[in-house]
Symmetry: C2
Subunit: 154 residues, 2 copies
Amino acid sequence: MKELYGSPGTKSGLMLRIGQCLFAASSIGVMASATGFSTSTAFCYLIASMGLEFLWSFGLVCIEVHALKFYKDLHNQIIMSLFAVGDWVIAMLSLAAACSSAGVAILFTKDTDFCKNETSFSCNMFPISIAFAFASWFLLAVSSCIMLWLVVSI
Amino acid sequence: MKELYGSPGTKSGLMLRIGQCLFAASSIGVMASATGFSTSTAFCYLIASMGLEFLWSFGLVCIEVHALKFYKDLHNQIIMSLFAVGDWVIAMLSLAAACSSAGVAILFTKDTDFCKNETSFSCNMFPISIAFAFASWFLLAVSSCIMLWLVVSI
């Protein structure tokens, strides 16, 4: 199997996973601290989805650190297929969460006067959380493509 | 190259493309006839995205009908790669549009009393249009996976 930039068991792969964790955690942190996020199901779903992505990526960070420390080879058909399926499913859920939240945030800030009228809402924090979610999704999408490439190139 | 169910130049492939066209057109039709859709950018984006998907799938229907009628072989590396890239890009845009619209529709119907107060809005039509958009995206996602499989299995 090819040794690709970002593949599991390499330093670049570990960096990608750490990036996913950091962005997902930042997205949760910013959204959870924004007043009024619970008004919209989409924002609650964003927190749930980013929580799932954080858990998945954190689990993979632990596996990759272990593999790097003890020189374990993760390039195994079954392991790679599991990583690929997990990455694709979670990437799709994250994209869905980020997009649905973006739709609601645009409605609040641009389409209606909701944010002007409801001054108690932390309207300026919603887009920041969504931007972090998109960044986290982008890194996960990169990992997903690398995984898929590695699985098919065996 | 393998002859797969749903691959271009086969009757099943043509059926998939016709299904994508029909669902995309239905989504546009229902959303455009719903009063008040222009309030939300997400709903306008849904129409634009479904329009793009309709044009793409309709173009491919024409190509596939031509290939079936004149026994042309579409299993060519360049053609398949172009179809695969187009399918993936448009599938991602469609998913983003359907999810952002779903976020706004849930906000209107469940999270707030917007639909109860604004009786002039066709709130019952938004979910129908979004369901059609998800059906259209699902068929496009099936085509995308078949295309990717065909491209990598050459």
